[in-house]
């Protein structure tokens, strides 16, 4: 199984990668630290999993070379499971990218990273309901402290491709 870590720049993809694989990748607090992908492996549920840390991107319509790399990676790995890492306190724009990935037919797991910060800022996210609507596993994580990382690895197999119409149907009435 192959897993792609995708998400906005600076949401902690590399930290998750580091937690998963034990491979040291350096991080910085500015967009674009990871401009090339790194690959590592881990064991999840007794299975060998290849994990790829993809450069950050805001959408699947790339605006610079690092984002192009991200989109190319996604297109190359047709059979991969994508972990969409989002900043929990900026969940809406994170969902934007997540939906784009779902629309392309990839099985997705949503990681609500920086969960501690989001709670601190007063955000409250109904994880179960979100998972129900999206039809994908949703896991709150705090990658820097390691919280939620094991859970994230254990739900990978539950990811399934899903139609956006189905999501739309479950999401309730028009605004």
């Amino acid at each position: 199984m192959k897993v792609l870590l995708m998400g906005h720049p600076n949401v902690g993809k590399s930290v998750v990668f580091n937690r998963f694989t034990g491979v040291d990748v350096i991080t910085s607090n500015y967009p674009g630290t990871t401009v090339e992908y790194s690959e590592g492996s881990m064991r999840a549920e007794g299975e060998e999993v290849t994990v790829i840390d993809v450069p950050g991107t805001f959408s699947l319509e790339p605006k610079d070379k690092a984002e192009e790399v991200a989109v190319e990676m996604l297109e190359k790995e047709k059979n991969a499971v994508v972990i969409s890492v989002v900043d929990a306190s900026k969940i809406e724009r994170g969902l934007y990218l997540t939906l784009e990935i779902i629309e392309r037919g990839y099985p997705v797991v949503l990681a609500l990273n920086m969960w501690d910060m989001a709670k601190h800022k007063g955000f409250n996210i109904d994880v179960n309901r979100l998972s129900e609507i999206l039809g994908v596993p949703v896991v709150p994580t705090t990658a820097v402290s390691g919280e939620g990382i094991n859970k994230l690895a254990s739900v990978l197999k539950r990811a399934r491709p899903i139609e956006v119409e189905t999501i739309s149907g479950r999401a309730g009435g028009r605004v």
Partner: protein, 68 residues
């Protein structure tokens, strides 16, 4: 765009709408201007607690109705 403190986004012109979408700037959102650099420099705006800096020319394409 108005150079006021706060407002809500009414419309975004043309293809800029797509480019800003991923950053979370879109119709209906509350937007706050944090700063505008001198000599036609970029502006920095805040939407949903996330700061984004964009070119003045781009910023002009965002129509904002100010609160005041």
């Amino acid at each position: 765009m108005e150079y006021d403190d706060k407002g809500s986004v009414k419309d975004i012109e043309g293809d800029l709408r797509n480019r800003l979408a991923g950053m979370g700037i879109r119709k209906g959102k509350t937007i706050r201007m944090i700063t505008r650099q001198p000599i036609k420099g970029p502006v920095v705006v805040e939407v949903d607690g996330a700061s984004t800096s964009l070119d003045l020319e781009m910023a002009k394409k965002i129509l904002v109705e100010t609160d005041r």
